[in-house]
């Protein structure tokens, strides 16, 4: 079982991803709607973080930087509905392994990325 954390203020999206990943039975999924809470709660045992960029409390980029500072080896996949190339490149520089565009091409894309990273 891999530990997956989803940080997204959009409840519906977070719920949907959680449901999809849980269903496969391969993942232990934990969801946060508030990045500040997430930052406090996340432990070293998390395998992959699915992180939204646009959030009201704290931007995804900042969260990314903080997480990377704390856990440099943690795999972080960025998600955004408002994509600019600048952001893609920025996140890449700050150590994100992947960049998922909303809407996803398919939910399978998410699990495929996770698998790609963790194996």
């Amino acid at each position: 079982m891999k530990n997956i954390v989803i940080i997204d203020d959009e409840v519906e999206i977070a719920f949907m991803i959680e449901k999809f990943l849980s269903k496969s039975g391969n993942y232990h999924v934990k969801t946060f709607h508030n990045p500040l809470v997430a930052l406090e709660s996340i432990q070293d045992d998390v395998d992959v973080v699915l992180l939204d960029i646009m959030m009201p409390q704290m931007g995804g980029m900042e969260v990314l930087q903080k997480l990377k500072e704390k856990y440099p080896k943690m795999h972080i996949i960025m998600m955004t509905a408002y994509s600019t190339l600048d952001k893609v490149l920025d996140s890449h520089r700050h150590g994100a392994v992947h960049y998922l565009m909303k809407p996803f091409k398919s939910l399978g894309e998410i699990s495929a990325k996770i698998e790609e990273i963790t194996t």
Binding site: E10, F15, A81, S83, L85, D86, L89, H92, F104
Partner: protein
């Protein structure tokens, strides 16, 4: 005539005149004296005869006679015996001049009765010798004081004085006359000279002069005018002016024109077409004034100046034509400019529209993407869940509907994605950038996709995630992320095209980055079959796409725009069965 000459003439004339008058007077005086003396002789003789007759017997008694005589006439008498007495006695007695003596002597010799005038101290006397008939050798001599002689001689002086006076007056008058004549002559000369000068000017003036009388007959024409019209003076003078006009109708119109001009005030600079002797038509500029200013223009002679302005008129016409041409050109240019501006405005408006859409889409796409994400995700999960439905027909129906829904949602997602591409803007500043580095970055970003499609060769080396970013150096000054965006667009387009054909092994994308002259050239060459010729021409226009699904066809138009902002050029063409996108960027000066 000089004064000296004039006075000489005058002097000579005066002297001549004086002598002339003097001679006449002398003659008159002489005749008067002669007449008087003859009368005196007659008178004395008559006295003597009377006395002789009366006193014939007493004639010897001369003394007595003389006594009586003395009492009669108051004259002095004595008897002169020519044989005994010499005239010298008388001379002594009366102090006669030698001329007088000679005269008397001659007369005595001729034995005539005679008388002559003698001036003595007391006055003028008539001395008369009468032959004594009694004694032939003796003469009765009488001395009679004569008032008549006195008068004659006194008058003679007066007359002489008057004569001199007359001469003086005449001379003076003559002088005046001469002066006047001289003045007249000099004035006449002056006038003649002025006339000559005027004629010279008239004839040599560099403008045509024409003098015509009231019947329109040419009185005078100068050389210039003759030359202009090609006539000789003789041919013009005496003819009417219609010789200079094209036709009688033209002449009539000319007269009308002049009348109109006169009503306006003056006949100046009238332009009219006239005719030369050889029939050639010329433009003439004419001005006319009446010869006699008191007279009306049409009543008397008129003086005209005429100038051939054909060349000038032709030049003016050429200028006019040129001006018209220029005017037309200006209008055309303005029209063109208006059209151009209009086109530009339209383009700008379209640009503004796109920009507005872009700005709006930045917000809208995010808002739409969020629900789109979970609609899409949930549909996918629904479809998976449907696999558990036992009723086969229901399962099939629901799955079909779900697929339909998914297709629709996917289309929306594609449109939104394209709008996002358009909306992207960057405020990044220009900086020196290694183009090779940007290519590697773009390839890393695309790697996730490209690794399934084909191998990519960067400067003849196969690209991997380990490819060094600094192996080559081609520096340009530009916005780094913008140029990376362009690469991603081009690479993604190539991948899209390659994906359609062949196998992984067959597909190739070669990227070359090199310096050529002042440019850094980046060449993307695939073997995906190339671009359709129809599309090739407008490939950089917005909304042109070869993709049936996905892509609104804005990627390349945005790329082109970005490159223009970076002073770059992009070209697309087909080569060796594939498409080539060639980008040229201005190399930084090192």
């Amino acid at each position: 005539m000089s004064n000296y000459k004039r006075y000489t003439t005058l002097g000579a004339f005066s002297i001549l005149l004086f002598f002339f008058i003097f001679m006449i007077q002398q003659r008159m005086y002489n005749s008067n004296v002669k007449m008087f003396l003859e009368l005196e002789v007659l008178f004395e003789q008559s006295i003597y005869d009377a006395l002789s007759l009366k006193h014939a017997e007493l004639s010897s008694d001369l003394e007595h006679i003389l006594e009586i005589e003395r009492t009669i006439s108051g004259a002095q008498y004595f008897t002169f015996d020519a044989k005994k007495q010499t005239l010298s006695h008388i001379k002594e007695f009366y102090s006669l001049s030698l001329d007088d003596l000679k005269y008397i002597e001659d007369k005595i010799k001729q034995s005539h009765n005679f008388s002559y005038p003698l001036k003595l101290e007391e006055g003028w006397y008539a001395v008369t010798f009468i032959k004594n008939l009694q004694h032939p050798d003796t003469f009765i001599v009488s001395f009679r004081k004569s008032q008549v002689l006195e008068n004659i001689y006194t008058n003679r002086l007066k007359q002489l004085f008057i004569l001199v006076l007359i001469v003086v007056i005449l001379s003076y008058m003559l002088n005046l006359l001469l002066l006047r004549a001289k003045k007249l002559t000099s004035e006449k000369n002056k006038i003649a000279l002025a006339l000559q000068e005027t004629n010279l000017y008239f004839d040599n003036a560099m403008i045509g002069f024409l003098v015509i009388d009231k019947n329109k007959k040419i009185i005078k024409a100068n050389r210039f005018l003759c030359k202009e019209f090609g006539f000789s003076k003789e041919e013009l003078i005496g003819k009417t002016t219609d010789i200079l006009h094209i036709s009688p109708l033209s002449y009539a119109k000319w007269c009308e024109l002049i009348t109109t001009k006169l009503k306006e005030g003056s006949v100046e600079y009238v332009r009219y077409k006239m005719k030369r002797k050889n029939g050639e038509e010329i433009y003439v500029e004419a001005s006319g004034v009446p010869f006699d200013k008191e007279k009306d223009f049409l009543e008397g002679s008129t003086v005209w100046t005429m100038k051939d302005i054909t060349q000038q008129v032709e030049n003016e016409n050429i200028i006019k034509e040129q001006e018209e041409y220029l005017q037309q050109r200006v209008v055309e240019e303005v029209q063109k400019n208006i059209e151009r501006t209009k086109a530009y405005e339209e383009e700008k408006l379209r640009d503004v529209k796109f920009s507005a859409i872009g700005k709006l889409s930045a917000g809208i796409t995010h808002e739409i993407n969020t629900p789109l994400t979970y609609i899409k995700g949930n549909l996918e999960m629904m479809k998976l869940d449907m696999q558990d439905i036992s009723d086969a027909s229901l399962k099939q129906e629901l799955t079909a509907s779900c697929t339909n829904l998914q297709e629709g949602v996917n289309r929306i997602a594609t449109i939104i994605s394209s709008m996002q591409e358009m909306a992207q803007q960057s405020n990044e500043t220009k900086e020196p950038v290694n183009i090779y580095d940007t290519l590697v970055t773009a390839l890393i970003l695309a790697h996730n996709r490209s690794k399934h499609i084909c191998k990519i060769y960067l400067n003849n080396k196969e690209f991997t995630l380990n490819t060094s970013k600094t192996e080559f150096e081609c520096i340009c000054t530009l916005q780094k992320q913008r140029i990376e965006q362009v690469w991603i667009v081009i690479i993604n387009n190539a991948l899209d095209e390659l994906q359609k054909k062949g196998t992984f092994q067959e597909r190739r994308l070669r990227i070359d980055c090199f310096v050529k002259e002042q440019y850094v050239v980046v060449k993307f060459k695939d073997n995906g079959g190339g671009i359709d010729e129809e599309i090739l021409a407008q490939i950089f226009e917005p909304f042109v796409s070869t993709k049936t699904h996905g892509g609104m066809g804005v990627g390349l138009s945005i790329s082109k725009k970005i490159l223009q902002e970076q002073d770059g050029i992009i070209e697309a063409y087909n080569e060796d069965g594939g498409a080539v996108f060639e980008v040229k960027l201005l190399k930084s000066a090192i």
